[in-house]
Structure formats: structure tokens, C-alpha cells
Subunit: 259 residues, 2 copies
């Protein structure tokens, strides 16, 4: 087995928590800072091709489902580019997010994995929020999936639906209603594969823009949600709830005037 | 700076993807398998003290909120015990899960982080599901928080509430209603700190039982949810939805008989 210089240097950083060779820091692999024990954080991002990323997510889905697909579509490219520490990240842990976490239908795994990527590459909390807001609003408001693979695992036309929610349960149910397909079918799985590809692509577009200092938030909450928030969320009169999910997706029967 | 033998061996494993010394595998730190490039997965768990874990989650909350608190309550103890690869895990990425992911109020961060731990230590998907089911049902059905810190950051009595949901938005709103406190207050933060401690403790109890081969699922979905599932979920007649979240928490106005 042969090792590249980069791999050896990265490993020395991980071992010692310090670099005897100053070139270790210059490599910028994001392992350890010079002279101290603490790992460098956040990890270094590199501009990626959104279409290649979409393809990788689609392809990786079969190895670990939605969260794994979105997460590894990015980390695998950085592992190819930089080696460590990306190569050693225990990516299989991301299988837990499948089907809204272990099949619970809570947060869609593709955006859970994508938000985890944002957390890995972006340090400032207000910036994490801005980028995740954009991704989650895009997910809620757009007809998905858009991605059409060149070599589909299941070669059928996949209907598009607007989830109006970041929750797997709602997103899948709406797609079943629009498409006429049942849940837990090959067709639904194909839809979620393509959705994971779309989400990974969007995440990379957002991260590319952020690290090129050209990110600007393009999306807003729907009018109904803004109306709800004006009374119920942070800084409002009642301030009796938390969150940014679309309100009317669940609270559909609530009248405008209510006590 | 001095290095322990374990740290040096672990680092060699990470560097080379193979161990020249067979003792590396015996150390079982979970870095790399002998002779191949692939990292060992899952990572090795060690039985932890649930009360110490609760305290660590409570204490770590201030550094990165709920998901970070739950996740690091376990990984920090394993890093103290084993060093690498636990020490190098980029735990700060878990800040993304705060407030149901970047404040979105979706999946509660404490159980997102705890489910991620299950994913890190457990390989088989059916086992991940069993353990997460137990954790999520416990979270939904119990009066929380139970944890009372010896030295509280905010020294007030914290009311308990039953979330009936795994979602931050619902969990927090219900607690606000029961306690009379507003959201985004010091009291609500103190509640979420203690809830993170409870969740971390429960996760370690579940993992301890699993790895001692004495785990058995104790909790079940409520009757209403079982009734809904009998028509709507996997293997049912309609099979038009996915998920295991408590149905009646959101679908509260649905009559037993509906078309």
C-alpha cells in the first residue's frame, strides 16, 4: 500500500494534535491546528459541480437511503479531492436519518443530511440559519423531484409534487396523492432517490454561493405563515411557539380570526 | 507534548488504513480494519453511566444547544476513554440541529442527536429502528423534563409536559402551555437543557441494554395511532403514507369513521 504525502501529513495531525511540519497547516485539510490539541473546525469546503453532486446522491441512495445519499454526495467528492479527514468520517452513521429518522416520517432525511453538511462547513450560527432557511423553503415550495437520471434505477415517469412541509410524512403523503402511487413502493423509492439528488444539488449551489460570498436569500415564508408568526413566534405578543415550518400545512382548518 | 501508546497506534491506523502492529486491531478503537483501506464501522461503544451522561448533556448544552448536547454527552466520554477516532469527530457540526434544525421546529435536536449516536454505534438497520422506536416513543409519551441539575443554570422549578410528538415545535408549544412560560425565554431554554439531559440518559440506557444483549422494546404506539396505521401504513389496504409519529397529535379533529 502506498500513501500520498497529504495522507501521511493529515494522519500526523490527527495523531499528535499538532504538526511538526508547518506544511500541515498549509495543506489546510482541516485536521488539527498547529500546536494545539483541538481539531480545526469547520471543515474546509471546495466548490463542487451541482450536477455531479446530484448524480452522486442518486447513486449513493441505494447504499444508505436519503440522509446518507445527500451527505455522502458531498463528502465523497471532498474525500476524493483531499483524502483525510473526509475519508475517515463515519458516513454510515447517516443511515439513521432514513425515512424521516428510522422510518418515523419526521424531518426528511435528504434535508437532515444537507443541513448536517451546512453544519460541517459553516461555523457562524446566523449563517447556518440563513443557508438552512433557504434550503428548507426551497424544499417546501417547489415541485419535486426535478432530477431525471440518465440511467434510472426504475425507468418510469415520476410525478412532481409540492411538499409544503419539511417532514417526510407530509412530503411522501402528498406525493402519493399526486402520483397515485402507494408508499413503500419502488416508485416511491425512485421518487425519494431523485428528491435526494435535487436536495444535494441545491445544497451545493447554496454552499458554492456562500463560500464565493455571493449568497443571498431568495425565498420567503408564505403569507399565511407570516401572519401566524406575527402573533406567535419570537418577538411577538404571544410568543408561545417555536419554529419556521409552514403553519397552514398542518393547521389547515384554522380561521384567520381565532382565540 | 506527549502521546499515549493508544493515540499513536490509533493514528497509525488512520494514516495507513492498515495496522503493521496486530495490537492495533486488538485495541479496537474503531479506526481502520487490518489490511484494507476502509474505516471500521460501526464505532465501538462502551457502557456509560446514565447519570453522568445526563450531567454532561446538561453542561454541554451551552456550547451548542440540544443536538450537540445529546451527541457530545456520549462522544466526549468515549474520547476521554479511547482518544481517537472519537476525539477528532467534528462535533460542532451538530449545532445545526438546534431548535428542530436551525430553529425550524422540526425534529427535536436532542433526539436527532441521540438517533445519530444510535447510527454511529449500531450497524443493522432493523436494530437501529428498534432502538430509535423505543427512544422516540419514550420521548412522546413521558412527562419531561425529569432531570434536576445539582447546580442549575437557572434555579427555578421547571414544569413537566408530555410532548405527544417528536417535533420541537409541538414539544415546545405544549410545554409553554403547561408551564405558562413563553418560548425563546430563559425558562424555556432551561427546560430544553434538562430535556436534553433526560434524552441523553435514556439513549445511554438503551445503548447499554442493547450492547449487553438485554434490550427489549417496552413501549407501543397509542391506540389511536395503531388504528390509523391499520389502514394507512405499510402492508395496509391504503398504504398511502409513511411514518410512526403519533397521528392524533396533529390529526386531532379526524373522526374515527372517515372517507
Amino acid at each position: 500500500m502506498t500513501l500520498t504525502r497529504r495522507e501521511v501529513l493529515g494522519a500526523v495531525g490527527i495523531a499528535a494534535g499538532s504538526c511538526a511540519l508547518s506544511s500541515c497547516a498549509m495543506e489546510g485539510i482541516g485536521s488539527f491546528q498547529d500546536g494545539i490539541r483541538k481539531p480545526v473546525f469547520p471543515w474546509r469546503y471546495a466548490e463542487l459541480d451541482p450536477d455531479i453532486t446530484a448524480h452522486k446522491a442518486y447513486s449513493n441512495y441505494k447504499k444508505g437511503h436519503c440522509m446518507y445519499a445527500a451527505f455522502t454526495s458531498v463528502t465523497s467528492q471532498l474525500a476524493d479531492k483531499y483524502g483525510e479527514p473526509y475519508r475517515s468520517f463515519p458516513v454510515n452513521m447517516m443511515i439513521y436519518g432514513a425515512g424521516g429518522v428510522a422510518g418515523w416520517g419526521s424531518l426528511c432525511g435528504s434535508i437532515n443530511g444537507s443541513a448536517a453538511l451546512v453544519g460541517l462547513f459553516v461555523k457562524k450560527e446566523d449563517e447556518i440559519k440563513q443557508l438552512v432557511n433557504e434550503l428548507f423553503l426551497w424544499y417546501q415550495q417547489n415541485e419535486l423531484p426535478q432530477y431525471v437520471p440518465q440511467k434510472p434505477d426504475l425507468n418510469i415517469k415520476i410525478a412532481k409534487s409540492v411538499s409544503r412541509s419539511v417532514l417526510c410524512h407530509v412530503s411522501c403523503t402528498r406525493w402519493c396523492k399526486v402520483s397515485g402511487h402507494k408508499a413503500y413502493t419502488k416508485a416511491q423509492k425512485e421518487r425519494c432517490k431523485r428528491l435526494s439528488a435535487d436536495t444535494a444539488k441545491k445544497t451545493v449551489e447554496i454552499l458554492n454561493a456562500h463560500f464565493a460570498s455571493r449568497f443571498s436569500a431568495a425565498r420567503k415564508h408564505n403569507e399565511k405563515t407570516k401572519q401566524c408568526m406575527s402573533c406567535h413566534t419570537k418577538g411577538s405578543e404571544l410568543q408561545n411557539t417555536r419554529g419556521k415550518m409552514s403553519c397552514n400545512s398542518c393547521h389547515s382548518s384554522l380561521a384567520d380570526e381565532h382565540i
